[in-house]
Symmetry: C2
Subunit: 154 residues, 2 copies
């Protein structure tokens, strides 16, 4: 697992939140994730398969940031994580992996994505069960944090 698999997701997320929700996020330093605690309240998960490699991607929002993004994208401000918010997180999961897919295709990796699944709950844990390292990328914003995780079999 090398940096050429990390940057496409990082740049795609920055781009999606900027263009779709007019929200600026500041990337922190990517690191290897050793524990299983999700860094937030609602997570989108999706499987990714290419002929050479397969793995999984997740994106975890703190609730205040998810709600602010919801408001900026759709003009609604729900009280908490409801099914509209999980729908939005599923869409963002599709958009971020779709953007990364286009960048990775230019590098010769032709990924197909499964359909996303969205998980919520205080203190939920997420464990990617592929063979490779789990890379955790933190981002900060004025409204809270968002983290993405990617893990591929090589």
């Amino acid at each position: 697992m090398n940096v050429e698999f990390i940057n496409p997701f990082l740049s795609s997320l920055v781009n999606v939140l900027s263009t779709m929700a007019n929200t600026k996020i500041i990337p922190g330093k990517p690191r290897i994730k050793k524990d299983e605690v999700a860094r937030g309240d609602v997570s989108g998960l999706i499987g990714m398969i290419s002929p050479q490699i397969k793995g999984s991607f997740s994106i975890t929002f703190e609730a205040p940031l998810a709600i602010e993004v919801m408001f900026r994208m759709l003009g609604e401000r729900p009280d908490g994580i409801n099914s509209d918010v999980t729908d939005m997180v599923g869409e963002i999961t599709n958009m971020v992996t779709g953007g990364a897919k286009r960048i990775l295709a230019d590098k010769g990796y032709d990924f197909t994505m499964a359909t996303p699944v969205v998980v919520s709950g205080k203190d939920h844990t997420i464990s990617h069960k592929s063979e490779g390292a789990k890379i955790l990328m933190p981002f900060d914003s004025d409204f809270g944090k968002v983290h993405i995780e990617v893990s591929f079999d090589k």
Copy 2:
């Protein structure tokens, strides 16, 4: 989404728990899932892709059943849902979808699976974001319940 997509997962789960953990489970009636509450404490999720259709599968164990299965498969009885249990749930996710994949291949659907992700947490919710109905299949056992959910785009 029709019954030919449901029974392969049902029979594969019954078979995996019987052969790998000597645990008998009794299938209840499959139904359409309308809410997002996971029926348990630890869930394995995996994306499935075929040329014709894609979707996602999840399996959710109540903690006492997950721990009993762990004991029967590996001889260890952890106090709660730890990383050994999430590893086992990831393996069961692979085995159940692998068994279903073989049955579905005989019907002309050639699925590839992504790598599993395991989620835990009290009262976590799971929302499959594919286009089709979410089918919930309950199973009972002497040690607690297990539910599987499948959702495909058609």
